[in-house]
């Protein structure tokens, strides 16, 4: 068996792992990141879905915008198909099936393997946690104050700025104003209000910014039209308002990876981590065991065993500290499959923001009056650029997609009875539940006149919800994770509240038809399955295993109020890097969070 040594081994190069690795690298600590999925946009893997390619990458010069453009086509089937898409939970090898999970309920889980993890198809939404979710809910062992310097650091480097207004956002703002919400201008959310999304997306080129008047809304290089070189780097820098975040967000075309507008961690943090000269990323490496020493009694983590997903060979990396950053499902799975102690909270307390979706269809005359164009045009402008915060209940946001994803989220992923068996008399929506047949096709024929909103519920951690392992189902990486999540009636009530508010905003803006999805559990924002304050101490080191840290969203003690979680996950990961350095690597001269 091949064995190696380094200072720190990190499992997972997803949303948060690279943030931690970057900070450790800055502090001179050598880090190896093992990542189960492929490395897109890297010269060392020219055909990452067809052949094993190189072994690992340490040089930021390996990053290749050319490869990124080849691989990220922005076509939703090719990118997002849950079985065969490039952005899926499965091995790099396109011939193979996705990795298995036991999910004994109606649910959709969206997680993505590969460098960048699930941020490869995220929308770049980076609000801070709602202040009361940290300071007033009972879950956090630290104060909101203590996260602020780390938030600020990320806001400066990604950077994170107010999303530009686009027609669909303007329609939403108008509805929110008429529904009585006031605008809030601050990073720190304590009260209800509407605002542009704080987004980790570079601001668009001035030439894409009109004055809000007449616009022809013509695309450049759309497939239906003659492709042009317009909106390409270096002529254009920053966002091009192409709305392809979910499909990988590769714009502007032609740019180096680190200058792509949507700041997924592979674009923003991975290059910085490699720049430190102390970070190595090894894709196609699935961790299967945390190695430990000691016991009975106290145990300490000493390394990780992993399997090369192409060759099937097993290797080990020994280290002075181990970090699990494999996400809310695989981190507890790896923990449990390694036989580490379980205090009853390992994998438990999972929060999911108990999503729902509400859509409104607008007459041409209405959008002409509001925004000077005959349709909403959901496929133009940032996918999610406008929001309403409702601390205590959660948030409502514009969330738009290409047609396949629109049908999936709005009309296919509902729970319970189909729309044709539901009576909506007296409800705030005209239809509710899943659509089929003529009704579905009519709604989809209205696609360009439809504004879709998402509701993010501030669901609370509960021990019954979460991840264990299904001993009866094993794949090449051991027993597969068993995922169970059910809403509590209090969470249902919060979600209902948000759905009613969303319908009201759409109606106030002038929607003629409102539909509520009544979504089944969609697990896509996942938090708190290995919570700090439960499984982890206030430095995110395991209570029961020394030198073992967690740095992904599972370490968050709750759902951060319903705000999109990645800003908080990455902020906490930066803080954890400093705690690790303080405890095991000679300290931190200038901690971001102050001495």
């Amino acid at each position: 068996m091949r064995e190696r040594e380094t200072d720190v081994v990190v499992v997972g190069a997803g949303g948060d792992g690279p943030a931690l690795a970057w900070r450790l690298g800055q502090l001179g600590v050598d880090v190896t990141i093992l990542e189960a999925g492929p490395f897109y946009g890297n010269e060392r893997w020219a055909a990452p879905n067809d052949a094993p390619g190189g072994e690992s990458s340490t040089d930021p010069g390996d990053l290749s915008g050319e490869r990124y453009d080849e691989q990220f086509t922005a076509r939703e089937g090719e990118m997002n198909d849950p079985v065969a898409g490039k952005l899926r939970w499965g091995p790099a090898d396109a011939e193979r099936s996705p990795w298995q999970r036991a999910i004994p309920q109606q649910a959709v889980i969206t997680q993505v393997a590969g460098v960048g993890g699930t941020t490869q198809h995220y929308y770049g939404n980076h609000p801070r946690a709602f202040v009361p979710a940290i300071d007033e809910q009972p879950h956090w062992p630290i104060d909101y104050d203590q996260l602020v310097p780390y938030y600020q650091r990320l806001e400066a480097v990604h950077p994170i700025e107010p999303a530009p207004t686009t027609p669909k956002a303007a329609v939403f703002f108008e509805g929110a104003r008429r529904a009585g919400y006031e605008r809030t201008d601050g990073y720190n959310v304590t009260s209800e209000g509407y605002r542009p999304f704080p987004n980790a997306i570079l601001q668009p080129d001035e030439r894409l910014m009109g004055d809000g008047g007449e616009r022809d809304g013509e695309s450049a290089g759309g497939e239906g039209e003659s492709a042009t070189d317009e909106y390409r780097y270096p002529d254009y820098e920053g966002d091009t308002l192409a709305a392809h975040e979910h499909q990988g967000g590769p714009h502007p075309r032609g740019a180096p990876v680190r200058e792509r507008a949507r700041r997924s961690s592979n674009v923003s943090l991975v290059p910085r981590a490699l720049d430190t000269g102390h970070v190595e990323i090894r894709p196609n490496a699935f961790a299967t065991q945390v190695l430990t020493a000691g016991g009975p009694g106290p145990v300490a983590a000493t390394g990780v065993e992993f399997r090369d997903t192409w060759a099937g060979t097993v290797e080990r990396v020994h280290a002075d500290a181990v970090v699990l950053a494999a996400g809310c499902i695989e981190t507890p799975r790896l923990w449990l499959n390694s036989g580490l102690p379980d205090d009853g909270w390992v994998g438990k307390g999972l929060t999911t923001h108990w999503f729902d979706f509400v859509a409104g269809v607008f007459d041409s005359a209405t959008t002409e009056t509001l925004v000077g164009q005959p349709a909403v045009e959901p496929h133009q402008g940032q996918a999610a650029g406008a929001r309403v915060d409702v601390p205590g209940a959660g948030g409502i946001a514009v969330n738009t997609f290409a047609p396949g994803l629109t049908a999936t989220t709005m009309y296919a992923a509902g729970q319970g009875e189909w729309s044709f068996d539901r009576d909506t008399a007296g409800e705030p929506w005209d239809t509710c539940g899943r659509l089929a047949g003529r009704e579905l096709k009519e709604r989809m024929a209205d696609y360009r006149r439809t504004l879709t909103l998402i509701c993010h519920t501030d669901d609370r951690p509960r021990q019954a919800n979460g991840v264990s392992v299904d001993e009866s189902t094993t794949d090449e990486h051991g027993p597969v994770p068993l995922v169970e999540w059910e809403p509590h009636p209090d969470d249902d009530a919060r979600r209902d509240d948000l759905a009613v508010r969303a319908a009201e905003i759409l109606r106030e803006a002038g929607a003629t038809h409102v539909h509520r999805a009544d979504a089944a559990p969609i697990l896509l924002h996942m938090q708190s399955s290995m919570a700090m304050g439960k499984v982890l101490d206030a430095g995110c080191e395991a209570h029961d295993v020394d030198r073992l840290f967690v740095a992904d969203h599972s370490a968050l003690p709750n759902g951060v109020g319903g705000a999109n979680p990645t800003h908080s996950g990455q902020a906490l990961a930066l803080r954890t890097a400093e705690r690790m350095a303080e405890r095991y690597f000679g300290g931190v001269d200038e901690p971001l969070g102050g001495a």
């Binding site: 090719e78 198909d81 849950p82 079985v83 099936s97 036991a102 999910i103 004994p104 309920q105 959709v108 300071d135 009972p138 956090w140 062992p141 909101y144 600020q152 107010p162 530009p164 207004t165 703002f173 605008r183 601050g186 990073y187 304590t190 894409l208 009109g210 616009r215 809304g217 013509e218 450049a220 290089g221 759309g222 497939e223 909106y231 390409r232 091009t240 192409a242 499909q247 307390g349 133009q380 290409a402 047609p403 396949g404 629109t406 999936t408 296919a412 992923a413 089929a436 047949g437 003529r438 579905l440 096709k441 009519e442 989809m444 024929a445 609370r460 009866s472 101490d537 206030a538 209570h543």
Partner: protein, 218 residues
Amino acid sequence: MSYTQGTFAALVDAIVPETPGLASRGEEHVPGGLDVSLEAAVVERTNRFLEGESRVPLATVVAALLDAAAVELLLRRRATDGLNAPAEAFSRGVFARLSRRDRLRALGLLEGEEGAFARIADRFDDAGLGVVTYLAGSLPVLVQFVYYSEATAAAGETRSLGWRQADYPGPAEGYPVGMGYEIEAFEENEYESEMRKDDAGESEDDAGGEHESGGSER
């Protein structure tokens, strides 16, 4: 038409049927899933859902489950429209003989908590059986996603039927739709921390490792 393909054809037809009544919105709105061989695309993906070993192709299992659910629907007197002779493109199974809406009601029994499978899984606390509910719930998602993505476009076609019906132009390099900024920059605004944790939680942190911090109630 094999049993599996024919059963999936009946499913596809229930969700995205041909809709002659939509001709008023344009001829392109008439054809449905069967016109672009959506059933084959869904069968292929269902079979690829899980990796091999000795397993039977999963789509065949799903087809059998749909028939079982159709029987359950009939036995529990939930079918409102009775049985019909199956369409030419369908299998001869029970599921394919149900009306479009009854087919979806049958699917609902497979995925819902009160269907026979969910109840048996619950009773025996068996995750393996419970996975049927997950699979069933994934079917409409798969059908609608594949139909309305580019996946069913014929070779040489840039847009699928679904994209054309949604009037989606396909991926673009960008759109000049910016309207300015509602806010130029966020402020580091004041906030009240009503309830602060005692500082002990954090200072123990420096001692490295062993402590109970926060004392959170969940």
